[in-house]
């Protein structure tokens, strides 16, 4: 029986970060309260953030959640 493919969460954090006056990964990490490696994992798409972290990131960029995170179905 074929299994339904799991949805993945895409994001455009890298694009927004570089567009926002060239913010570094460390600066973003410090502002949202995580390590730089977590930002690397987020930008690489290998880590799905918690709702709290996702909301903190969208707040930094002043965007809506849908503008930063998209469900890839």
């Amino acid at each position: 029986m074929p299994r339904k493919k799991e949805s993945t969460l895409r994001n455009c954090i890298r694009e927004l970060r570089t567009a926002t006056s060239g913010m570094t990964q460390q600066e973003l990490a410090d502002r949202v309260g995580v390590t730089r490696q977590t930002i690397v994992a987020l930008e690489g798409g290998s880590y799905t953030p918690s709702l709290t972290l996702a909301l903190r990131i969208t707040k930094v960029f002043g965007k809506t959640t849908e503008a930063v995170f998209q469900l890839d179905e």
Binding site: A29, D30, G33, V34, T35, R36, Q37, T38, V40, A41, G44, G45, S46, Y47, P49, S50, T52, L53
Partner: protein
């Protein structure tokens, strides 16, 4: 490499070193080779990596998630080892008509379980960090 990844590597390396030293000591010391498991105590020093430096975050939600999954798999592995060894001991007891196990057998079992728990935990955490970095 972040702080928790260093902790995972420390746990893995210490466990492998302890098991290797016990294996090397076994021909000379016999059952007393379990003293080599004392090296597992070196894992205490891994806490040095998670000291807070300034206002920078050292451990975050991703680390906690990996730690939780790795601990779960490590503890499950240790329990599974216990069950399988006890089943084997019970079967051996029924086969050989010996109704008791020596205390040294339990001593080995406890130390091996301890090493498996932390070794598997460290290995799983290292693999999870490597996978996320590679993606």
């Amino acid at each position: 490499m972040n702080a928790m990844e260093k902790v995972a590597w420390t746990e893995l390396v210490v466990c492998v070193t302890a098991v290797a030293s016990v294996t090397l000591l076994l021909p000379w010391l016999g059952d007393r080779a379990t003293t080599g498991f004392a090296l597992l105590g070196l894992m205490v020093f891994s806490t040095l990596f998670i000291r807070r430096r300034g206002n920078r975050v050292v451990v975050d939600e991703r680390d906690r998630e990996i730690e939780r999954k790795a601990t779960s798999i490590g503890v499950s592995s240790a329990w599974m080892t216990l069950f399988l060894v006890l089943i084997a001991a019970t079967m051996w007891s029924g086969y050989s008509h010996v109704d008791a196990v020596p205390i040294r057998f339990l001593n080995w079992l406890i130390w091996i379980q301890f090493a498996i728990c932390y070794g598997v935990k460290g290995l799983v955490a290292v693999i999870m960090y490597r996978r996320q970095h590679a993606a």
